[in-house]
Amino acid sequence: MVVFRTAPYGGNYSFEGLENVLIMGAYDQDVSVLFIDDGVLAIKKGMDNSGTGIKDFSPTFRALEAYDIEKIFIDRESMESRGVSLEDLVIEPEVIEANAVEKMMEEQKNFFMF
């Protein structure tokens, strides 16, 4: 499992996390992806890098399904506190509650947080 919990671009965690997801997918691992805290902002629609030239990674998030990565989750409270709804996102994760997060982590052999 890869957990995204930081905002995109200010730090490069989401970008390197995404590289990690793709590689795990290529290894035929049964990869889950989870967005919590500021990580929910990493999959916002409408990103436009023309003003900064920084690499826009949202097309790659959109391609996760093509890599057979389909277990994608997002924390409801993190979305609500940031004024984000599912329609604002480039993918459609399954919405979960905060108290499900630790259980999901425990069920993994290992997981990474970005």
């Binding site: 930081t6 905002a7 995109p8 671009y9 200010g10 730090g11 805290d37 500021d38 902002l41 916002k44 629609k45 409408g46 990103m47 436009d48 890098n49 023309s50 003003g51 900064t52 920084i54 826009d56 949202s58 609500e80 506190s81 940031r82 004024g83 604002d88």
Partner: protein, 96 residues
Amino acid sequence: MLHLVNKSPFESMGFEDCLKYAAKGSSILFYEDGIYGALPGTAIADRMASVTSDYKVYVLKEDMMLRGIDKIMDGITEVDYAGFVGLVEENKTASW
């Protein structure tokens, strides 16, 4: 004085620290992950509404675009990098 805030207000106390010291009427510019402070409908929107009445609050357009943010709260002004330079011409800057 121009106060530069570049961290997400949902993850960092940088913005609140800045407010502790910033004199009313001063300018605050959100850039990088700081721009999320300008989002409407968030858990900190009420707090931000009171801030916009006490300070001149700006948000950097290029960093909004990069992050897919096109709506901001009333009372916050969008500026581009040229506007950022303009604010620095007029003010000493503090980076939080």
